[in-house]
Subunit: 280 residues, 3 copies
């Protein structure tokens, strides 16, 4: 089953890139999409991914894609390997179709149990590419046309042969091997400086006894929201991104204040006694 | 009367947040909106409000909302109090419906005489929220769904009970108490470094005699536009935002050059003699 | 022939400005457009043009406009001369209509042989402007309304009298006078630090013998894509923007590393012997 079997839903294409908006790259992609599928609703997911940071793009897709309607096509172009042998792929799932380089950018969404993969193809059919494909801008010449044709109802199998063994990001495998009872790893730091861990609420075996050591601060409870602590205080809470544990500083920037960076490990322990009035 | 009594206008939702675009938060909100109201035109008003700066968001809404069609729903999420007791509200007016936290973010638009308030409600009806409401991301779980349902035609009263006594920003009251004959307060500094005052053209009793003291510079007339002065010169003029007086540096950044910050007071006086060739 | 003679295509308006998105200026323009043409698809080409940098805007339009459908109206507002005698214009071409100040912002697109000019008018008819035109924000009061009316099908000639002798950017003329066999000029540096020259692939008489001197580095071949060199190595290649020659640093920022700035000259020579395995 592919998206076009639905009853003509509004075609929706989300874009996630590291292009910024000071150049004409995003405009070129939008122009290509609107030329192929003028009714498409183009939704900017992010153009502010740090340059060539595939992991950051993977996380942002994970934060957002599940909230779009199932017919959405999510086109992500963070593509340091453009023009090399890395494949260009489209992956149809139970909730959204993903179009981009096969460099792991979709591996977090695809491995998190959010969606079931239905089929994946290599984008090799020139009929669904721009007539002249450049060596350095596949976003415009391969991915935008593929996304637009898929949104317009072209069956996935038309775009190329099946693609197996999609690339996985290394941090996902690493994260799985770790001892979740004693440590969490920082997988994202957001605009506000909130620190998001690879642990979710389900990993916390006893929320009333959990303790976090973050930099030089000890957090001795799991809070419900920012307002549970005083201004300038640090808190841990079950965050809004798929129940991942997050660490914040009320009305401040936790990562900057505590000197925490992406990939850092946060020590976890369980106290002897439960602390009262703390919420899971 | 609420928006759905109109003859099926295009549903329009503007978004104003402090989320930036490096995370997936804006995408999640767009996804929620498109899931509920796929025909919605989502218009980015700003995602670059400084983090948690409610006053800046209030000003940006004031600059822009009046130019949208009356059916537009303006959803603003600058929400330092998320998860606390602060109310979530929707306010229907003669020109646009406003959805966001009740923290004063709409108080400038609502108090400026631009629009008449028709009704306001507390967004408490879970039927118009996401099934699981997080403690820290009401933009996705409460405000985006409310905006989408309102844009799709759900009557305001369905979303919750009436909400009275909406929160006002403090600076509005302060600004009103001041002596407009002797001082203006800086309420916004724009991207170009233009300095916008809380005074409007109507506050200037004699445009031909007005003088402004800004940092160490004396401005002795009211100009019509940038080109009225030489490059590098400072000018005061009736700005494009609702006739507010603004101070600029031709082809330069006035705020940076003059060392002016938000909230600063600018001295005003009226000269003895009118200066010729100066325009109001 | 103007756009409205086509069979009711989706109205598309691209926006290119130096407004950033922290103020309400972009929102005001979008509101004006949606009030006049609610069905318009508004496509953000860029709001991150450096303040008042007409040349940068001209380049970004050149990178992107050709990929939009021919009915698109491209509205560009980088307008240091707003309120002065500079004209406001609309230019209908074989591929897109251009609306903005007559300050050269469209001169690169119009002179590059991409499009044929059909007609140009001065935007003087008040029926297609906002009722009160400010002195400092023609984006909202003149250009957005003109773009919306044109996208909605108003004939170009309705908007004002013919406009001849559109302003050209100086760098275009300069660039043409140069000796393309010995030097290239930097006309754009993109977000990644890639350096784009005013030379195109067609200017390179012998791709197998070409040499580039960039800062202290000598590049002795023309590469196909980034992956042709090792990480940290510099390469020259035929870029994705209309075959312009570009210089990049694999997985790094070439302009920053090599100390190259806009307008710099890059020395070119032709080696005695062809280098093998180098691709044009």
């Amino acid at each position: 089953m592919s998206i076009q079997s639905q009853n003509n839903p509004v075609p929706i294409i989300s874009l996630t890139t590291d292009f910024g908006q000071k150049d004409g790259y995003v405009g070129a992609m939008q122009g290509v999409i609107l030329s192929i599928c003028p009714r498409a609703v183009i939704s900017t997911l992010s153009h502010d991914i740090p340059a060539q940071d595939v992991q950051a793009a993977a996380f942002v897709l994970y934060q957002a894609c599940g909230y779009y309607p199932p017919q959405a096509v999510h086109c992500a172009v963070v593509d340091p390997g453009v023009g090399s042998e890395r494949r260009a792929v489209a992956v149809a799932t139970s909730h959204g179709t993903f179009v981009g380089p096969d460099n792991g950018v979709f591996s977090l969404v695809l491995s998190a149990g959010q969606v079931d993969v239905i089929a994946a193809v290599s984008l090799t059919n020139p009929a669904y590419q721009r007539p002249a494909v450049s060596a350095t801008f596949h976003g415009r010449d391969i991915f935008a046309p593929a996304a637009a044709h898929l949104a317009a109802g072209v069956p996935l199998a038309e775009l190329g042969p099946p693609a197996n063994d999609l690339v996985q990001l290394e941090f996902i495998a690493k994260s799985r091997q770790e001892d979740r009872q004693h440590a969490g790893r920082v997988i994202h730091i957001d605009r506000f400086g909130n620190i998001i861990l690879d642990l979710t609420g389900a990993d916390i075996t006893d929320p009333r006894r959990i303790r976090f050591k973050v930099g030089d601060r000890l957090i001795e409870s799991l809070s419900y929201t920012f307002a549970d602590v005083a201004e300038g205080e640090v808190l841990a809470y079950v965050g809004s991104t798929r129940d991942h544990i997050a660490i914040a500083l009320r009305n401040g920037n936790a990562a900057r204040t505590l000197g925490i960076q992406l990939g850092d490990t946060i020590e976890i322990s369980y106290g002897e006694k439960a602390i009262e009035n703390c919420e899971a």
